[in-house]
């Protein structure tokens, strides 16, 4: 029997005082996937083939087979994904505590800075200034970086590859351990293909978001969208990856609950 809190929550959702925001990109073959140096194994892009469509292959039904990487489209990174997290307990999508699928979110809007500088890096000072305006980041919160990257219309603009690699925003190497140590955050989420900046291979350590988050048993979310519909604080995120045995991550539906304006 549900408690009054749950009944109240459902009522608020049904009467529109709470709204659900879909932070997930649609899975389609055109959605860009991260591209690594060609000598490394590559993540499969999303591909889909019809099995039948009310035709001779299956008269009364329509269904498809699809293939993709764990890290294609809007997806979740588990700590096992990175070498720094490989030996931590409960570090795969199937072994993570299910309570960790629900958490509050702080949305830090750097869309203006990102529009002017594709290599914008989030710093400790920027976060502190944000907290002056919007309040301290609560314990066990997602930190979501709103860059409006999801509004980039073509794969070329979204991956933003130049001769020296990809250019997209992310956290610098200092702010990540600070967020973990000083704010005990739940994980980091971005709108681009990686939680780390496009040029993060040049930071020290390389890919600091992956390195420190997963090295401290925290999580990552990528290819998010509609972050511009969330308040700076107060949204609740539901992000449950698929239960893949020993999975390093998975595509998923990321849903946010937030009070209607």
């Amino acid at each position: 029997m549900s408690t009054p809190v749950l009944t109240q929550f459902l009522n608020e959702l049904l009467n529109g005082r709470l709204k659900m925001v879909d932070l997930t990109q649609t899975l389609s073959p055109e959605f860009p996937t991260i591209v690594l140096p060609p000598e490394f194994g590559q993540a499969w892009p999303f591909r889909i083939e019809e099995i039948s469509r009310y035709d001779e292959r299956g008269p009364a039904w329509y269904w498809n087979n699809f293939s993709m990487s764990e890290h294609t489209g809007t997806h979740f990174d588990a700590p096992a994904h990175w070498i720094s997290g490989k030996d931590l307990p409960d570090n795969t999508v199937d072994s993570m505590p299910v309570e960790n699928f629900i958490a509050a979110a702080c949305v830090i809007d750097v869309s203006k800075e990102a529009a002017e500088n594709a290599d914008f890096l989030l710093t400790i000072d920027y976060v502190k200034a944000w907290e002056e305006k919007h309040g301290r980041i609560p314990e066990r919160s997602w930190v979501l970086l709103r860059t409006d990257w999801s509004k980039r219309a073509t794969p070329k603009e979204y991956l933003n590859m130049a001769e020296d690699g990809a250019h997209s925003p992310g956290p610098d190497a200092e702010v990540v351990p600070w967020l973990i140590r000083e704010r005990n955050v739940h994980g980091f989420g971005t709108e681009s293909v990686g939680t780390d900046a496009g040029q993060a291979h040049h930071l020290n350590p390389p890919y600091p978001c992956h390195y420190f988050m997963h090295g401290n048993n925290r999580y990552g979310l990528q290819c998010l969208t509609n972050l511009d519909q969330l308040p700076p604080q107060g949204a609740l995120i539901f992000a449950a990856p698929l239960k893949i045995r020993n999975g390093s991550g998975s595509p998923l539906r990321v849903l946010a609950l937030t009070p209607s304006a």
Partner: protein, 417 residues
């Protein structure tokens, strides 16, 4: 003298499309020796090992000494045109649509007297024979026929209607290059433009990647970029829906080439990627573009005519250091043989290209000789202009082909060292 081919008029979209018909395609097993020669651009007849006589038509025993030791060999292709007829009537659907058609009798220097298609630039014999050259070409049934050409090349010789029926000339045709961003794809597109192609549909499998040479070529008014990923059924279907009715020559340059045998890895991911691009990509393209090309196989002077697969000599003999890729090449070859059978009914020729190593990134560590992409592209264009079906490009490809004929086991051992 042959009139130069004119740029085709725009098609009237509400007129019925003429469908493909074929010349008679039945041949005896022995006669298929002519087809083998024509497929590779050679001129060969049977020569008796005992009395040296050259045989025509193909037969089981020597017409002079009854020996059964007949071997296919290159022979002198010169002859004299001694009789000429211009057909103005035929009960055969194919020839009926292509009248008038000249046939004649040629007395070969090598001995036999043959009936051949006679090029319009060959003078009519009046009293004395007219010197001609014979050539074996595949007709629209994919079978070998003899053509008599003038003793020396004449202007616009290949524009003659008879010649265009036996060749796949890119002139005035619209060509799809499935991966136009690779070195091989760019070279193919340029070579086709140089050969007079009307339009190049330049396939872009990775729109997120900037390639200066691609952008430069795309600026040419004859070039249309199409985003095309052969691993994505939806992408292939959409491009076919958009331009499928305009593709007259399809060159599949999509290719996935990586080092690696079989035992050295602990996963089949690279092998799967190779199969996905090199084999399943071919099948997707065939399913999406094949029917349209068959439908337009007799539609105008620039009708659909050829499907070109850029494979590798290692489709015929695996290179173990690149075993997974070699397997995909062999699978692609097998698929293309099926495709050849499936497109033959409409007279669309499947051309398989077997180059040796090509000078490109993933062949960096292969010692020379390596083929420049431009050289392979040039060979492809010439092969289409000559009507070749199995095209071996470069010294390494030719050498492996000869060694396979001689002793395929030796090839296996030597490549496996």
């Amino acid at each position: 003298m042959t009139e130069p081919l004119l740029k085709p008029r725009k098609k009237n979209p509400v007129e019925r499309t003429r469908l493909a018909t074929r010349p008679p395609g039945a041949r005896s097993r022995t006669a298929l020796g002519l087809t083998r020669a024509a497929a590779e651009g050679r001129f060969e007849l049977q020569v008796c090992a005992d009395c040296g006589s050259v045989q025509y038509p193909p037969r089981e025993v020597c017409g002079y000494c009854l020996s059964e030791h007949l071997a296919w060999k290159p022979v002198d292709n010169r002859g004299e045109l001694i009789a000429l007829s211009t057909l103005r009537h035929s009960n055969d659907l194919y020839f009926r649509e292509r009248l008038p058609w000249r046939v004649g009798t040629v007395k070969m220097t090598a001995g036999p007297v043959v009936v051949a298609h006679i090029h319009e630039d060959c003078a009519a014999p009046e009293g004395t024979g007219v010197p001609v050259r014979l050539t074996l070409k595949l007709d629209r049934s994919g079978q070998a026929v003899l053509h008599a050409l003038p003793a020396k090349d004449t202007p616009n010789m290949n524009d003659a209607a008879q010649m265009r029926e036996s060749t796949c000339d890119p002139k005035f045709r619209r060509v799809l290059v499935t991966d136009g961003k690779s070195a091989m794809g760019l070279a193919t597109a340029r070579a086709m433009l140089d050969a007079g192609a009307a339009t190049i549909f330049l396939g872009d499998p990775s729109s997120w990647k900037t390639v200066a040479a691609f952008d430069k070529l795309a600026a040419d008014p004859r070039v249309q970029v199409v985003e095309l990923d052969v691993t994505d059924t939806d992408s292939v279907d959409r491009v076919a829906a958009s331009i499928g009715g305009k593709v007259e020559i399809l060159v599949n340059t999509a290719s996935h080439l990586r080092d690696g045998g079989i035992l050295g890895r602990k996963d089949v991911i690279l092998a799967r990627d190779a199969m996905e691009v090199n084999v399943l990509g071919l099948m997707r393209l065939a399913q999406a573009f094949g029917p349209g090309m068959c439908f337009r196989a007799a539609d105008g002077s620039n009708h659909a005519v050829a499907w070109v697969n850029v494979l590798s000599i290692h489709a015929l003999a695996a290179l173990p250091s690149r075993g997974a890729w070699s397997a995909s090449m062999a699978a692609a070859l097998s698929a293309s043989q099926t495709l050849r059978a499936e497109l033959r009914g409409a007279g669309v020729r499947v051309v398989n290209v077997f180059p040796g190593p090509i000078e490109e990134d993933w062949e960096q560590l292969t010692p020379p000789p390596k083929l420049a992409p431009a050289a392979v592209a040039k060979a492809i264009v010439k092969g289409l202009q000559d009507g070749i079906e199995d095209l071996y490009v470069g010294d390494i490809a030719e050498e492996i082909r000869e060694r396979l004929r001689d002793n395929h086991k030796a090839v296996e051992r030597e490549l496996g060292q």
